[in-house]
């Protein structure tokens, strides 16, 4: 049941994933975890212990705002929404992530990178 994530997320990556998911529509914490899990095809399982501190951190940095609203089941939940500042942050973070992966891939795939 309690399958830990298949691999450890690099530092700061969780924040990027959260921003990405929240960018689609206002969403509550539980749904964020579910969605990441679903999109990653169960490869990523976000622990509550890291999800909520991350959410509060992002809210504190004004990348997210939260308001209480009813869910489809009628319960009150805290919905997070991206701010303008958060949107800019998502953009720059995404770009830098892409550049990083590109560079890392470039080095890893370079034939001279391996010693024979």
């Amino acid at each position: 049941m309690t399958t830990p994530s298949k691999f450890d997320l690099p530092q700061g990556t969780l924040d990027l994933l959260i921003l990405r998911v929240v960018a689609l529509e206002p969403i509550h914490g539980y749904a964020i975890a579910q969605r990441i899990q679903m999109i990653s095809k169960e490869a990523l399982q976000i622990q509550q212990g890291s999800l909520y501190p991350a959410l509060h951190r992002l809210e504190n940095k004004n990348f997210l705002v939260a308001e209480w609203g009813p869910t489809e089941t009628g319960r009150e939940a805290k919905f997070y929404r991206l701010t303008a500042k958060g949107r800019t942050q998502l953009k720059t973070e995404t770009e830098s992530w892409e550049r990083l992966t590109e560079v890392v891939a470039m080095i890893l795939q370079h034939p001279l990178g391996e010693r024979s």
Binding site: M1, H28, Y52, P53, H56, R57
Partner: protein, 848 residues
């Protein structure tokens, strides 16, 4: 949102955080039920996945950034609860801290008043003190010729002031003399002083050229003249010379330096008030006139020093004899009561006092640390629980430190009134200038708070670290602390005992002479320049008139009236290589009857007899242990021993070893002689008559009349004060030692609870367990006691002279002190063990 708003919204946020997590939890449970699990299983699984809910919340709080403040408030509140839960511990801790911090606060307050606070004068920053120095010489005084030269030529000083304290003067006919200071006529205007009545000296009016004048201090005005403003313009007599009161300085006026005179006189009229003196004209007159200045605008003290140095070189050409080789001028801030100058060769007073004070704080903290350690052992379970609930080490450490800090600050708060109270007493008893206030200023507040922090670190850091690390400790350090404490308490307690016994001894033992009905009359002839012939005539006349006075039994004269003089003379002879200290006195034949000192052998002096001496019994015995001293030659061979009288403690009540020698007065002694009068009844009733007689013989003299009982009381009260202070210190030392030992024994007991329980379970008797636990402390206590007794025995030899005839090894004081100390220590040590005996054996063993 700033942090304050956040803090105010903390409650709401807490609620929201809780709701948010609960929503997550419930939704997850609902999903699992939908997947087919029973509700109970779903809940259990979710709970497992969630892990520590409190931990998640804490992390969320932390990521909000408000945590440090919220948690400090939280920690403080928690700490306050913990302290309130054990009031005994808290109270002890705060008292210990208040003592430790209070002493340092007191020392700092004194330093603050003396050296940091500016005296209340106009623009204190530009007031400077000017002193001359050379590699060989240090003096506070500057010759008046130099002062005048600097005043006329220095451009870096906008004003130059001079002060000179005078010997105490007789005001009108009062017995109590008053303090006076001669000042330059710009003194008050230069300092910005104002008058409460009349006017002050004024350079433009040139008071010095007019008739003699004076300015009263507010204090003297109130005390002597009842604050009557009509005193202005009236004439008073100072040392027998009339002077006109021109005004009264305001209550807040502060004198420069440590002087706090009752009145001020113009420096230029010095030779009027002190006949024959020429301090201003005589360029060699030195050492008494102090120089002060006001810096011209924009001039620094270094600039002024440089200019004055170049002026000194010009001065040298004018007065080559007055200016030293390599003389230079030192300019220091002048608007402080006292300056701590670290001249070469002077003892480093400040560092020493600082060290001592810090040591006291350290001792207090070491004791408290022991107590804290013991408590830490008791709180081990609580801390373990917190770790189990997921608290991080750092967090628990911080929480405990906050608790210590709270304790430290409470100690500071308690220390402030303590130091304030003592400081007030000190200021009152030392009759400090009225502008000095015991109220703490911002520096004192800052210092005390800082000491609270320092103390918290000192006493708290190690025990706390140990609590968090959950390590057991058994160090030599504790034993050393106990040893040192017991030793110190022992010394103080024995000394207190000795001093108390000595005081009682003085009060209730025979001093060898009868002082109760004797008055001493000091005419003060030498101060008024009497020649020996004039003095003899005066003394003869006074004695004859007094003898005729009803109620007077005997009259005599003595150079050193017993008990009254603050200064006594001591000479010595060597007898077979051993030095014998002797108090000499020059007396008339009737002295022995007046003082009721018995004649043991030989005879008294005859009138006008020369080259004869009378010895006290103990001196005669020391000098000639086997022979009859009568007729023997004394020392130089000129003086013959004619009599032996009883021993007295006339010169120093506290010295039972005292030996005396009496000489007939020579002509040169007369101006310095006092008259002693024995009354048949109450001697104080004779005082008015004596005053009248003295006034009719010579109107210029104002004799000081003192009953010998006053001198005796003064002697005894000094001893009583010393005894009281030492007893207080002893009490504090014992208190600290008790706290320390209590803490350490409690700690030892808590470490061995299991062992004690097993022993109890196996039926060991209490005494046996007591000895097992206490064995560790027996040695340090014993060593401390021995060290304490040994050091007191050494110390008491130095203290012999204040011990008033009690042996420095007085067994009652020693045994008494040790018994008291041991009893208190045993009580302190057995309390925690007694508590251990009451523990529930089964539960303890089960728990362990």
């Amino acid at each position: 949102m700033n942090w304050f708003q956040r803090l105010s919204k903390t409650q709401r946020m807490e609620k929201e955080l809780d709701a948010e997590l609960r929503f997550h939890f419930e939704t997850q449970v609902a999903d699992k039920i939908r997947e087919g699990l029973s509700e109970a299983d779903a809940r259990r699984a979710t709970r497992l996945e969630f892990g520590g809910l409190a931990q998640i919340k804490e992390d969320c709080r932390e990521s909000r950034g408000t945590l440090w403040l919220v948690s400090i408030v939280q920690d403080l509140r928690f700490g306050a609860r913990i302290l309130a839960r054990s009031p005994g511990f808290s109270f002890t801790a705060i008292v210990v801290l208040a003592l430790g911090i209070g002493v340092s606060t007191l020392a700092f307050s004194l330093y603050n008043i003396a050296a940091l606070q500016s005296i209340p004068v106009r623009d204190p920053a530009t007031v400077v003190r000017i002193q001359r120095r050379s590699p060989e010489n240090i003096t506070p005084g500057v010759p008046y010729a130099s002062i005048a030269f600097y005043r006329d030529n220095a451009k870096s000083l906008s004003a130059v002031m001079a002060t000179m304290s005078a010997a105490p003067l007789v005001l009108n006919q009062d017995e109590k003399r008053i303090g006076a200071t001669f000042v330059s006529s710009n003194y008050f205007s230069g300092l910005g002083g104002s008058a409460a009545a009349g006017r002050l000296f004024d350079e433009t009016r040139d008071d010095s050229a007019s008739a003699p004048v004076c300015v009263l201090s507010f204090r003297l005005w109130q005390r002597k003249f009842g604050g009557d403003p009509s005193i202005v313009g009236k004439s008073i007599h100072l040392g027998g010379r009339p002077a006109t009161v021109i005004g009264v300085a305001s209550e807040t006026f502060a004198s420069l330096g440590t002087d706090d005179p009752d009145l001020w006189l113009p420096l230029l009229q010095h030779s009027y008030f002190v006949e024959g003196s020429k301090p201003l004209a005589d360029s060699n007159f030195d050492g008494l006139i102090e120089m002060w200045g006001r810096l011209a605008p924009g001039v620094s003290m270094t600039n002024a020093e440089q200019e004055l140095l170049s002026l000194t070189d010009q001065l040298r050409k004018l007065y080559p004899a007055v200016i030293w080789d390599h003389e230079y001028i030192v300019v220091t801030p002048g608007a402080h009561f006292f300056q701590f100058e670290g001249g070469p060769g002077s003892p480093p007073v400040l560092p020493l006092v600082g060290l001592l004070v810090f040591l006291i704080l350290a001792i207090a903290c070491a004791n408290l640390g022991g107590l804290l350690l013991a408590r830490g052992a008791g709180r081990q379970r609580e801390i373990q629980l917190r770790f189990d609930l997921g608290a991080r080490k750092l967090r628990v450490f911080r929480q405990l430190l906050t608790e210590n800090l709270l304790l430290g600050l409470l100690g500071s708060v308690a220390a402030l009134p303590l130091s304030y109270g003592v400081l007030r007493l000190v200021l009152v008893y030392s009759s400090a200038p009225s502008w000095m206030s015991a109220l703490p200023d911002w520096r004192v507040f800052l210092f005390t708070t800082a000491m609270g922090f320092v103390a918290a670190l000192l006493f708290g850091f190690l025990p706390t670290l140990q609590m968090v690390r959950r390590k057991k400790n058994r160090s030599l350090w504790h034993q050393f602390v106990v040893c040192a404490q017991v030793g110190a308490s022992c010394v103080l307690l024995i000394l207190a005992g000795l001093l108390v016994r000595a005081t009682l001894h003085t009060l209730y033992s025979d001093p060898g002479f009868a002082y109760e009905q004797v008055l001493s009359i000091d005419p003060g002839m030498s101060e008024h320049g009497f020649t020996p012939a004039q003095a003899k005539a005066y003394l003869d006349q006074l004695q004859n008139r007094l003898r005729a006075l009803p109620g007077v039994t005997t009259v005599s004269i003595a150079k050193i009236p017993p008990l009254v003089n603050t200064e006594v003379m001591i000479t010595s002879i060597d007898v077979d290589g051993r030095r014998v200290m002797i108090y000499p006195n020059w007396v008339s034949p009737e002295f022995f009857q007046t003082m009721r000192i018995p004649l043991l052998r030989g005879r008294y002096f005859q009138a006008g007899e020369k080259n004869a001496v009378i010895l006290s019994q103990s001196l005669a015995r020391k000098r000639w242990p086997a022979d009859d001293p009568i007729g023997k030659q004394w020392k130089n061979g000129k003086d013959i021993v004619i009599g032996v009288v009883g021993d007295t403690r006339a010169m120093e009540l506290n010295n039972t070893d005292a030996t005396e020698i009496y000489y007939p007065p020579t002509a040169d002694d007369f101006p310095g002689m006092s008259v002693l009068v024995r009354a048949a009844g109450d001697p104080n009733t004779l005082t008015p008559a004596i005053k009248a007689i003295a006034g009719s013989i010579d109107t210029g003299l104002f004799p000081t009349i003192t009953p010998l009982t006053a001198g005796f009381r003064k002697n005894v009260s000094q001893a009583e004060q010393v005894a009281a202070i030492i007893s207080l210190l002893g009490g504090i030392a014992i208190f600290l030692a008790v706290v320390g030992l209590f803490g350490l024994v409690s700690f030892a007991v808590s470490q061995r609870t299991k062992e004690i329980a097993i022993r109890l379970a196996l039926g060991a008797n209490h005494a046996r367990i007591l000895s097992v636990v206490l064995r560790r402390f027996a040695w340090p206590v014993l060593v401390g006691l021995i060290a304490g007794v040994a050091s007191t025995a050494c110390l008491s030899q130095i203290l012999r002279r204040v011990l008033y005839g009690i042996s420095g090894l007085d067994p009652i004081s020693y045994v008494g002190a040790m018994a008291v100390l041991l009893a208190i220590l045993t009580a302190a040590a057995s309390l925690p063990i007694r508590r251990a005996f009451q523990l529930d054996v089964a539960r303890t063993l089960h728990f362990e």
